[in-house]
Amino acid sequence: MTTTQTQAAVRGPKAEVPQKPVRRRREGAAWVFLSPWVLGACVLTLLPMAVSLYLSFTDYDLFNAPNWVGLRNYTQMFTEDPRYWRSVGATLTYVVIAVPLQLALALVVALALKGMKRGRAFYRSAFYAPSLLGASMSIALVWRAIFNDGGTVDNLFGTGGWVNKPGWALFAVALLTVWQFGAPMVIFLAGLQQIPGELYEAAEVDGASRWRQFLSITVPMLSPVIFFNLVLQTIQAFQVFTPAFAVSAGKGGPADSTLFYTLYLYDRGFVASHMGYASAMAWVLLIAIGAVTAVLFRTSRSWVFYASEGDR
């Protein structure tokens, strides 16, 4: 520190063209302050990704040096592994059930909160709380206990243990996700407050019903926010791991009914030690999520309405 200071002191008066070095120095400072992030991104994200891409073409098994096997992992996945397709099926079912339900619930609660005069801050926090808690392992374990046989739900309604019934286990996991509607709800709430009040006033003067107002004003005006939430929650749902892992006792059971893609990936990598195969699965998931997002963006042109378009 002292050396830098003296250097600065020496260099200071010598500075002839002040502008260029100052800009360079500013850039330097930017890099220094960015360095923790850049370092983290390189060492913790980019490097592992590159290694994983390489490993996906090998038979790496954690213990022995990887051998190049070309596309074998990929062909095995698509043609020889029935359990892989079961995991794809379970994941898609989950995404299709959980995401719309969660968004619908978030929107309903946001609408209710918007009309609220008193206590909104309290309820907003109260409804947001599960999102903070829900991602944790402990809540997922509690969830399993609640929906297990002899658990709360079984005792109250005599449903038996949902988590042990192949037809119901996935629903129990989806319910845990839906319960965490807080994040999209807060975003919806912010979006709702952006909609100009005069639109509703004008509609009321024209005699539009509440439902009509919702369909013709709220939904189109909110569509960019709905789209944003849809993309974000879909991406998240594809990668769901913790709740499914805990609720299914780490096995994606019963009978593979909650064997989500990430769970099967974990199983191949960390239980069966086929890291090469697991890496290949991870890359296919990345590409699949990219494709689904691209499709969502493509369809958004026909239903997402941006206020700026209206001006044109």
């Binding site: 020889e80 059971g253 069966a272």
Partner: protein, 431 residues
Amino acid sequence: MPGSRTRTSFRPRAAATALALCVVLAGCSGGDASSSAGGKVVLRYTWWGNPDRAARTQEAVDLFEKKNPGIEVQTSFSGYDAYKQKLATQAAGGDAPDVMQLDYRMIDQYASGGVLMDFAEQPAALDTGEFDAGLLATGKVDGKQYAIPQARGTETVVYDTEQWKASGVELPRQGWTWSDWADAMRALAEKTGKPGATDPGQSEDAFEIWLRGQGKALYTKDRKLGFTADDLARWWTFTDKLRREGVVSSAEQTSQIDGTVENTPLGRGYVIADTNWDAPSSGFLALIPDGVTLAPMPSGEDGTPGQYFKPSMFMGVSADATHPKESVRLIDFMLNDAEAAKILGATRGIPVNETLRDAIAPELKDFDKTVYDFQASVDGKLEPPPQAPPSGDSALQTTFQRDYDQVSYERMSPREAAENYITEANAELRP
């Protein structure tokens, strides 16, 4: 005053640079911090097991620390399924514990993957003179001693003593066959109104014993599958039929099995009998207050015994252990120290040290004595154990359970599931 401005603006940058450097340097030097605290040698020792084993192991470790003031042992334990995954991850990351408990299934994989130390590197620290040579050899891979067997164990039909006796059904006897077993379970279900046993269809161990009872084996000498889809389909048809009759546990119960006694149907009080290894069955005592009895596993229809004495657990030392000598000394203490043997009893099975085995036999009490007597009752009547299972077996054990889930939840026929398993197993065992 441009000069002074420059000077002040440099200060925070220099500070930030220094800070960033400190962080980077600190990050690099963290490696050895855990291996010696306060001048002590610190060892990490991990195992799987039930709380009873944990308490006794901790007691023995405390005694070791008392006798070796320079060594501190950090212990941790979990259920088998969780342990298996954690250890594999640690080992792959080059962070295997110094001393680890290993299963017969793990040795081949861990030794050939360079995770384990050859005990020949520390010949003085461990005395194997009192071990049965044949048993000791089960810890060898390619002629090198990578693991030391801690005990031997065998499978058992463990049952709730009171409930079985109260039902009036004839008790299991030596040499009973699988059809005798099925009849007994059927009678128990009739008399008590709940399933007789845990569905053994999900257990690769039980299947192996059934298979051996017919003179076959799980794996051939050259590490391929030793049975066909027909064999497996017959086994699963047998258990599936019993499940449909309500004679063995329902799919909802069976699928909760996760390697702990607490989550077995017997541990949860839904059935009267279970199949398990003998020593871990001590965990049932905490759950079934009236006590449990150990009976031999059923034999093949012609009387061929399927069960065998398996080296139940091994101890191994990490190839990267910072203190290999102390690590081996801990193993020596656990296996050869008379006091430790007394504390540990039969929590991992009957000790391998033959002098200690004879010495503690009269002093064994409670469940330890039960295990000892049970082993004595079948000793000499069993066939020799198969060779150590190939690397893929550890994963196949889980696959076996999952494929049977498809049968018990009636999503596949036994034949379909069996053919699935054969395909998966062949892929897993592909060299």
